[in-house]
Symmetry: C2
Subunit: 330 residues, 2 copies
């Protein structure tokens, strides 16, 4: 089969991919994207591909007569998450998988590092290495609120949320989750849309892992942010557009104990002078939650694992658009 | 019995202590210390005390004819950890307990927050919210090294180390511990002085939780710091004097991948202009690892739990100087 690759891979990862091909052929985009998040561009060679690895252009997918499987190189699938695209791949019998398992652990680690840094007041502590006694010191210590016994709500509960629950286990926290379609096998209490209102009001920590889609855009609006209790902490490692940033700013003004930790914003990066960048209780990292040493290798390892499954006609990992007729490999 | 208190307690914690006295009497120092770490001063009233809560003056202890139990209000017992004092309390039949269980969890959280912040490169990420693509961004992501599969050596393994091991469980790390007296029931591989040399060379993360005592002073000298492998990370939440800071500075010069996270230094705070404060790979917090919201309440709860045991002649928690004749309560 022919595998079309549309993003740049470091030498080592490319060699690893080649070694795992077992007779399949690699096709390269004429204009490879510099990162796994970049959009692939329409390219003549694409028409030859049986498998697309990267972020193929939806129009190319529509035109292709050979394509049987798209392996998206990110966790987010915004570009493909439309009723029209879903119908298209159903009709053409194209499977769609994403790279959720490549980034899960690093994402969970990132938001967990946010939670612990908040609990231990790391930004304040690191900025003030000088005091070691006196009232300011006592107040600082008293401001370190242990996670033990606190509550957390995970919005957009999925593979990242699942890992986060494992990491939080030693803290005996009260954990609730929210997701579009509850599967029933989640190891925590899941809430529906009604339950979400109460859960937002109860949680000390609200973790947003929502993907960007028409149904999640602006999900954290003034109403939902307003339901959160005073002194709550909000985290976003999902996508920036799921939060109404004006409402978020308003929340800072209304609640002096409110904190937010954002790895994603809208747009990215936030322009200089954006008020969120000067809000002292808003901590921002530049969309690095899923990043980790050896990321490209993890990505290729994950793809090759799925390639073996695809060859054998087995269920693929991280399948985000399964075929409704039950056919797995075309 | 008469309980002598030599440090200042917030109203709520004092009320909680009074409510738990059950007929015992409180004596107050004429010059209460402002923090639980401050040294108590010699005071006439002390001679009346059966129990000392705080940091009593060793000379007062020597003079006392009534004292049966000292409950030290910190984890560190440097002031008392001498052969002469140990002999004195043995001879007089005075039990000594510390407050290890008050600070364990917060201390473990603090060093764990250091480890995750290092793994996720939080200081660099928070300082650079602007980039969200390009080479610097890719390099940043690649610099995030997951804890999974890495190794950690805990030097001064005790109750804090034990908790840290629980927190690290989801990462499948290789963990080794070192302590003065190995008990044999530690859940991790323990090394002796010879094994320590190898363990220092193998660990990606070296966590120092050593207390300050004549035998630990300057423990991390040039030789031991030099044994650590290139690119290792060093953490200190024990005591500042256990590290030779000149040797630490030299290590930064020799190894461009070396990082250190210090909650304790010598002296505290480090004077302005001290070279460790301007070393960009050295992160310092101002001795706050054990601090947490409700700290005084946790301390009194712990003391009262021990008071009940003392009344019943049971073994005390966190007993650091048990009586060798086996007698528990005088």
């Amino acid at each position: 089969m022919k595998i079309y690759l549309d993003f740049w891979l470091p030498k080592e990862a490319l060699a690893f991919l080649r070694a795992g091909l077992r007779g399949h052929e690699l096709l390269f985009s004429g204009k490879p994207s510099g990162t796994v998040l970049g959009s692939g561009t329409l390219d003549a060679g694409f028409a030859e591909a049986d498998i697309a690895l990267g972020q193929p252009d939806p129009q190319g997918v529509a035109l292709s007569e050979r394509l049987r499987w798209i392996h998206v190189s990110s966790s987010g699938i915004t570009r493909y998450d439309t009723p029209a695209f879903r119908a298209l791949v159903q009709e053409k019998g194209i499977l769609v998988t994403n790279s959720a398992h490549v980034y899960n652990e690093a994402c969970a680690d990132h938001v967990f590092s946010f939670m612990l840094a908040q609990s231990r007041r790391l930004p304040e502590g690191l900025a003030t290495p000088a005091f070691a006694s006196g009232d300011a010191w006592l107040r600082h210590r008293d401001g370190c609120v242990p996670l033990r016994g606190q509550s957390v709500l995970i919005v957009g509960y999925g593979a990242i949320g699942e890992r986060l629950v494992d990491l939080l286990a030693p803290y005996g926290m009260s954990i609730a989750g929210y997701r579009r379609r509850v599967r029933g096998d989640e190891p925590v209490r899941m809430v529906d849309d009604t339950g979400l209102m109460d859960a937002l009001g109860e949680a000390d920590h609200v973790v947003n892992i929502l993907p960007d889609s028409p149904s999640t855009r602006g999900f954290f609006n003034g109403t939902r942010l307003g339901l959160m209790k005073a002194g709550a902490v909000f985290y976003n490692i999902g996508r920036g557009r799921t939060v109404d940033q004006d409402a978020l700013l308003a929340r800072f003004s209304l609640d002096p104990g409110f904190y937010a930790w954002l790895d994603v914003t809208d747009p990215e990066p936030l322009p200089e002078g954006h008020p969120l960048r000067s809000e002292s209780r808003c901590r921002i990292t530049p969309h690095v939650a899923g990043g980790h040493r050896g990321e490209s290798m993890t990505l290729i390892r994950h793809f090759l694992r799925n390639l073996r499954r695809f060859e054998r006609g087995e269920l693929l990992e991280d399948c985000v658009m399964p075929l409704q007729n039950g056919r797995i490999a075309g």
